[in-house]
Amino acid sequence: MPEPLLEVRNLSVAYLTETADVRAVDRVSFTVAPGEFLGIVGESGCGKSTLLFGVAQLLSPPGEVVGGDVIFRGEDMVRLGPDDLRHMRWRDFSIVMQSAMNALNPMKSIEAQFKDTLEAHGTLSHEEIQQRSAEVLEMVGIDPIHLGSYPHQLSGGMRQRAMIAMALLFTPQLVMMDEPTSALDVVAQRSLMTKVKDLQQSLGFAIIFVTHDMSVVSRYSDHVMVMYAGQIAEAARTESIFTRPLHPYTRGLMSAFPSVTGPRRELVGIPGAPPDLARPPTGCRFNPRCPDVMPECLTQDPELYVVGDAEVRCLLYAKQTKKAM
């Protein structure tokens, strides 16, 4: 078994405000192997973006890590000082944000921003900077002629690709992506994802891909983690999640997608809404909306149970299986 690249153990993140303590991420554990593509899926408010920020050590007050560890290549990132973190950032792991327009500086050309990044995290000569900048743009399918362009001059899809190029400047081992395709239309999305998968296969980096749209990630990911109300609801290999979803929430999600091809069937969806994390329900957090709810679900907090090679947080599986550690 190869050493995992990233190991997250019981990570909890909370927003400590004057009026409420909101636990956005509750005891989440997972590992990422080198070169693996992990999809983290969930709807709004489930904590997936917060989880990503927590792993990347990008939380700012009032959000903070209140428990657990994040071990990246053997080092505990939560306890690292800012200098060490800066050294690791971008060289060992990088992050692609949801909206390129939020992350790119509108006043600087692409070239200038690449240069800033290269200089901030490494020492390269002027020619090396030029060369690398052109290289990464070509990698993502943008003509290097656009190095001199400003973000607003590029289309949405191109901006997103530029973000990915920027994340690959130092060829890190782990690239984290927070909904990079949600602002794009379907064709551009498909095009971008294909490119991302190509790059992953040729350069060998691992990806953590956060999204609310399971279909985007289903064709490319090795593993999928479904989050609900700050907790992992189900985690398994991609095929298992899609062919044999175990958690009632995952099953509900599957039945909520209308299909373009195939037979027409009644869409059901999941009634109700995700809980207010400041006051989550007692027992299983999904119980108000669960079609298979049992009496014990209202009082007992389910653990993460192992079923085959999957993990499920659901009391339906409590009796037969052992707890995941």
Binding site: T19, S44, G45, P61, G67
Partner: protein
């Protein structure tokens, strides 16, 4: 987006009036700036409402020894005519406060209507109103005053008129910008699509969503008006026999109070003006923070790290 959403989730932007005032009260008490500012203003209101309880001498009666220094019976000394300075200050609070509030309210109202109408209707209306606003902005105040004082009898009313006419334009620009940013909000398009008339949309749909901006404008204007009113009266506009802090300054100046050693008479009204201004300003700062959670100072809470 979810990151800041969760933090702001406890602070919604629209509440019932009573719930809102209760929340406001709690928020004021928790914010130090707001508490101090609110206390100052409350003090002013109290003094304005019950001057007789605080001052023990009639303010205008020249009964006492002239130019006396501070003593236990005359806390701030007396004027050149033998009037009690402290009583004058106390009794002058009422009119000063009223003028400030009235001018700020009317000016804010005018600037809001003009600003939002310009933003919403756009086109020719916008251009016309913007020109009008600009004209009022660049009119030099002093020459205008001199002109107006030739026609208006010196009185509190003319003071209010002059102040309002010269102050409304400042905020109109800002309110117009705010109006522009709100223009294409879906709920306004929805109002149009259901057939509402433009003036209805402006007054009923847009303006109420701008209440926090309006209150902030009002407070900011009030800070300015306290000093502006006093300055104008100091220069001679306004009726020097009406008792206000500005007229006190005028009278002190006319009597060369500073030079003749009666500094308190000249300084006390100035200090009072500054204090009232500070009161409004402090509440304004805090109001921003109350209304917009993102501006609050983040107090980190020291928590023990849990193992799991």
């Amino acid at each position: 987006m979810a990151v800041t959403d969760i933090a702001a989730a406890a602070q919604p932007d629209a509440l019932e009036v009573s719930v809102r005032s209760r929340r406001l009260l709690r928020a004021i008490l928790r914010n130090r700036k707001a508490t101090v500012g609110a206390l100052i203003l409350l003090l002013m209101v109290f003094v304005a409402a019950f001057p007789g309880l605080i001052a023990n001498h009639p303010p205008q009666a020249p009964l006492y020894r002239a130019n006396a220094g501070p003593s236990s019976s005359h806390l701030l000394g007396t004027t050149q005519l033998g009037q009690d300075v402290f009583s004058q200050l106390v009794w002058g609070t009422r009119l000063t406060l009223i003028v400030t509030l009235v001018v700020s309210a009317i000016a804010t109202l005018i600037s809001m209507i003009i600003g939002v109408t310009a933003a919403y209707l756009g086109g020719v209306t916008d251009r016309t109103l913007t020109v009008v606003t600009d004209v009022f902005l660049i009119i030099p105040v002093l020459p205008l005053l001199i002109l107006l004082s030739a026609y208006l009898s010196p009185s509190v009313t003319s003071l209010i008129i002059v102040l309002t006419v010269t102050s409304w334009a400042f905020q109109a620009r800002q309110l117009r910008s705010q109006g522009l940013s709100l223009r294409n909000r879906d709920f306004l398009v929805a109002a149009r699509v259901r057939g509402e008339r433009p003036m209805y949309i402006i007054l009923v749909e847009i303006v109420p969503t701008m209440t926090s901006l309006l209150v902030a404008s009002f407070l900011a204007l009030a800070v300015f008006e306290v000093g502006f009113a006093a300055s104008l009266q100091f220069l001679g506009l306004g009726n020097s026999s009406e008792l206000m802090w500005g007229t006190m300054l005028y009278n002190a100046q006319q009597a060369a109070a500073l030079e003749s050693g009666n500094a308190l008479w000249a300084l006390a009204p100035g200090a009072a003006v500054a204090l009232m201004g500070a009161g409004f300003a402090l509440v304004n700062f805090a109001f921003d923070e109350i209304g917009n959670p993102a501006l609050r100072p983040v107090r980190r809470r020291r928590r023990a790290r849990t193992a799991a």
